[in-house]
Symmetry: C2
Subunit: 198 residues, 2 copies
DNA sequence: ACCTGAACACCGTTCAAGT
DNA sequence: ACCTGAACACCGTTCAAGT
């Protein structure tokens, strides 16, 4: 990994070039030479910092997902102790906003992500999201403690699943607003049902 | 496409070989020669029936997803006119059962599917699922007609998103049962909230 | 009508040589 | 310490020749 300053620049530009190539030609046609060219270096240089093409894509995807999760965590922390309805609204809105900001990037990276299902990257990211949500849910008395763990799994998968589906449809802004509204209705109704069930 | 009988066998065995190879070595190491060998034919033969490797995978994935969707459609048709709670229970249970039956296959094919995001395969399948759900929801007076379309999108994406997340975790049977229970609570609460909102 | 497999093109990866 | 790019291996695809 980089030591001198120019090599830090190199890594940075390879990283950016990867995203650019992904956006321009898609994951199918992303070749190591193309990325290197775009970054203004030779293939060999790329291989000095990444053991292979997969590792390169992995790094880019990981950074992207981590940034996204950090927004979710922020919203969760900021909603600790709030009403259930407010929690839901805050987290859903934060996630949708964050996704919208990186919409194109999200879509192309989605093509790449299944390769890493086994590496457990998605699992790790999901875990982070669920834990943040769980911590938030535990801060209210409304939800039975024994339901919190599963409720956060449901919360997380519903949120990410729905937004992914809607964005994949090439949805217009109006549809995303509808999705936001419906997600809030659904998750609030769900959490309320859990709290009154016992 | 096949005309004589032996060629129908050939296509069939190529199809099966694809799934076998996928299960044995994963999508990353699936090569055309490997599939052909496993099917007991030469590469050239494979290219007589499929224009390229992608088309082969596409066909296999399409068949898999279509079979899955048909189960959802069946459950939806069978629940027309039922109570909202029964509708939800029937469809959720049917989907989870169907998924369980083809669990391994689902997991490896998931690695392949993002390639076809642009082809609109996933979109078409999703549309089928949503339409079946929408038809079912329209059969009850409980849900405001103007909400039906979006409600079916939410229903579909929640169901598929959650089950995918849980299966990806390598979930034990107990967890799937919990997912089933929670999905039913969530979707019933959601649809009920929609019906009492106006 | 269907099948074969050697030949070709393309791409991931390496490594000897350079600054 | 970092970079280059020709060379190699592997894999998707084609096509002339076969039954």
């Amino acid at each position: 990994m980089p030591v001198q300053e120019r090599s830090i620049d190199t890594v940075q530009s390879i990283h950016e070039a990867t995203i650019q190539v992904l956006l321009q030609v898609g994951s199918e046609k992303l070749t190591t030479v193309r990325v290197a060219e775009r970054a203004g270096v030779s293939v060999g240089t790329m291989y000095q910092y990444y053991p292979n093409k997969q590792a390169l894509l992995y790094t880019v995807l990981e950074e992207h997902l981590t940034a996204l999760m950090e927004e979710v965590e922020r919203a969760c922390r900021g909603s600790a102790g709030a009403e259930v309805a407010a929690m839901v609204e805050n987290v859903v809105s934060a996630f949708i906003q964050a996704k919208l900001r990186v919409r194109q990037k999200s879509l192309v990276l989605y093509e790449v992500s299944p390769q890493f299902r086994q590496d457990g990257l998605m699992k790790r990211i999901a875990k982070r999201g669920r834990q943040a949500i769980a911590a938030m849910l535990r801060s209210t008395k409304a939800i039975p403690p024994e339901e919190v763990e599963f409720a956060s799994l449901m919360f997380y998968s519903t949120l990410t699943g729905t937004v992914a589906t809607v964005l994949a449809k090439g949805a217009p802004a109006s549809m995303l607003e509808a999705a936001r509204r419906h997600l809030i209705v659904m998750l609030t109704a769900y959490l309320t049902a859990l709290s009154t069930e016992s």
